[in-house]
């Protein structure tokens, strides 16, 4: 009697179940903990200083309130750095790690679609990163926003920030899963994309920025950054904010297309393990 192969969804969930613990308790998570934990420590330090009577920070004679500091941290630390970096480090390693450890053979000999392996690992990456990043953001929000601000007034922005960060992890993860499935040195390619292509193109005028994830993701950021320096004013002149629906459309499209192409690449590629 032949047993039917498990369906795509069931197979993905089984792979997810196996991979989540592996991913969560890996060395990469220590790196993620440092990247995400540092802003939390900064928030704790700032709050302790304020409680001990230190005056609110001033930049160019402007007092920085809690909501402004939180917005700055979201923009500068999480949206521009943490989310893309976590996407690169985890997304590119979904399949690459298995190839490096020479364990991919065991996965591919299972009677499940190869793309289900990718999707299962992708889901494990999502859960891993979302359950680390979002609590950190919430802790920072609870610590920082009440300084000269109001939790109630900042709550809608928190919801938008959490959604934005989760969406960023989804999109960058999918894109770099494709990079990991296609390129030989996916980590390098990913870092060049994030810190090379996206950084340069976003600062230039023109339509090239539409070929980045950051353009659409930053269009969703609810915080307007204080513009009291000539550079930030110049940047704001070149800054083009696409409409919300367009941002969401392209982010979802990039995710789905990247996952589809990554699945196809994993299915069709022959992985030759180095001896």
């Amino acid at each position: 009697m032949t047993r039917q192969s498990p369906g795509f969804l069931y197979a993905s969930l089984r792979v997810f179940d196996v991979s989540i613990s592996e991913m969560l308790w890996s060395r990469r998570t220590v790196f993620m903990g440092l990247v995400v934990g540092l802003p939390v420590l900064i928030a704790v330090a700032v709050r302790l200083l304020i409680e001990m009577g230190a005056p609110l920070g001033r930049v160019n004679n402007v007092t920085l309130g809690g909501p402004t500091i939180f917005g700055l941290m979201m923009w500068a630390i999480f949206v521009q750095f943490c989310v893309p970096v976590l996407g690169v480090f985890y997304g590119t390693s979904l399949i690459a790690d298995e190839v490096e450890d020479k364990t991919i053979t065991y996965l591919f000999t299972r009677p499940i679609p190869r793309s289900a392996v990718l999707v299962g690992k992708y889901l494990a990456y999502l859960v891993c990163t979302i359950f680390v990043v979002l609590p950190a953001v919430v802790l920072i929000w609870l610590l920082i926003v009440p300084i000269g601000g109001s939790l109630g007034q900042g709550f809608p922005d928190l919801l938008k920030d959490l959604g934005l960060l989760a969406l960023g992890l989804v999109v960058y993860g999918a894109l770099f899963a494709l990079v990991g499935a296609v390129f030989k040195r996916p980590l390098l390619a990913g870092l060049v994309f994030v810190f090379g292509w996206e950084t340069v193109v976003m600062a230039l005028p023109g339509t090239l920025k539409r070929f980045t994830v950051a353009f659409y993701l930053r269009g969703l950021v609810p915080h307007t950054m204080p513009a009291n320096s000539p550079m930030s004013i110049i940047e704001s002149l070149f800054r083009e904010t696409p409409p919300l629906t367009l941002c969401l459309f392209w982010l979802v499209t990039i995710t789905l297309v990247s996952l589809y192409l990554a699945g196809r690449a994993v299915t069709n590629r022959e992985y030759v393990l180095e001896q």
Binding site: D17, I20, S21, L24, W25, N60, N61, V62, T63, T68, G71, V127, F131, V132, L134, P135, V138, L139, W141, L142, S150, L151, G152, Q153, G154, F155, P156, D157, L158, L159, L162, P222, H223, T224, M225, P226, A227, N228, P230, I233, S236, L237, T241
Partner: protein, 348 residues
């Protein structure tokens, strides 16, 4: 999934849920009636729900601030003393010590329903004020248990409102000014119709505190200043008396609020809510552009640069906020210039 992984995921979820629950409670707590009733000045209970603008000043706090003390030093002492003494002799009020707060409300924008009322809280000798007014031809009437004092001179207030408002639609009551003692220590001045409306609002408990939108601005402004104002900008823009050519150029703003805290220096915030995100973004760009232009034209003046650098433009969605700070040192320089007759310039 191992047990450790499960525990980690549960713990993370708990942290996020606790944070979201805290935020949700804080968000809705500001909108609950019993919480809102204790927020904002008590005078808001007298402003009807159709109020389109509110202004408030904590006169006591402002008058005792270091900033006002510096201003006072500029005014010749005998001039100030004479004015104070005259007023005190006439109405028994020391304007520097007896007035605690002033709250003003504007109702409607045009037509018979528009008007204004100013409520002053402090220590007043009601008997001597009433006697003074009746001595000079004023009349006293009762309205729902409150004493209203009218005087032909107060009609000038109404006339002033008529001239600057929409004179053709003014009712006789509207052209008559009135002074009323709402409660011990609270006197109101305005046109008769609005003063009566204020009394009705307090009696029926149907007042401006039920306007969630306006109250959110009031709470925001109250937190950041001891003098503030909040107003419906679109109510002004929709005034039928404003020519269409001018209306076209009025920015698409819905609400505007301004607040300032007077202590050793002045810290202020101006907030504008546009009708949509695009208008707000355009407005932020205009303000930032204006600041950049001012910095370029300000040249090397350190005080000008410091003042412009103290302007901070922020805001999200439909909101545009501008925060500014005038430091005590800058105020000293400005006052020194004023004292010196404006000669010379900053810094050098």
């Amino acid at each position: 999934m191992t047990r450790g992984t499960r525990r980690f995921l549960v713990g993370s979820s708990v942290v996020v849920m606790v944070g979201l629950a805290t935020g949700l409670v804080a968000y809705y707590n500001g909108n609950l009636t019993f919480a809102r009733a204790s927020a904002g000045p008590a005078e808001l209970a007298y402003l009807p729900p159709e109020t389109t603008g509110v202004a408030f000043a904590n006169v006591r706090e402002i008058m005792s601030s270091a900033f006002v003390q510096k201003i006072r030093a500029l005014i010749p002492a005998d001039e100030l003393g004479t004015a104070k003494a005259e007023l005190q002799a006439q109405i028994g009020v020391d304007i520097e010590r007896d007035i605690d707060t002033v709250c003003a409300g504007v109702i409607g924008t045009s037509g018979a329903t528009s008007g204004g009322v100013v409520m002053i809280r402090g220590r007043f000798n009601e008997t001597s004020i009433e006697a003074l007014v009746t001595q000079h031809g004023g009349k006293v009437e009762n309205y729902k248990g409150k004493r209203l004092i009218t005087h032909p001179e107060f009609a000038n207030i109404g006339e002033g409102l008529a001239v600057h408002g929409d004179g053709l639609n003014m009712t006789p009551e509207k052209t008559t000014g009135a002074l009323a003692f709402f409660e011990p220590g609270l006197v109101a001045i305005g046109d008769m119709a609005t003063v009566k409306k204020a009394i009705d609002s307090a009696a029926s408990r149907q007042n401006v505190t039920s306007n969630d939108e306006l109250m959110s601005f009031v709470l925001d402004a109250e937190r950041t200043g001891n003098a503030w104002s909040v107003g419906r900008f679109d109510a002004v823009a929709n005034n039928p008396d404003i020519p269409a050519e001018i209306k076209q150029h009025i920015p698409p703003l819905k609400w505007v609020s301004a607040s300032a805290k007077f202590d050793a220096g002045i810290t202020g915030n101006v907030r504008a809510d546009a009708v949509d995100d695009k208008s707000a973004e355009d407005l932020r760009a205009i303000v930032n552009g204006g600041l950049a232009a001012a910095r370029l034209m300000g040249g090397q003046e350190p005080q000008v640069e410091a003042m412009l650098s103290a302007l901070q433009v922020t805001g999200t969605g439909k909101t545009v906020k501008v925060a500014f700070t005038i430091s005590p040192e800058l105020i000293d320089k400005l006052l020194a210039m004023a004292k010196g007759g404006g000669a010379g310039h900053f810094g050098r």
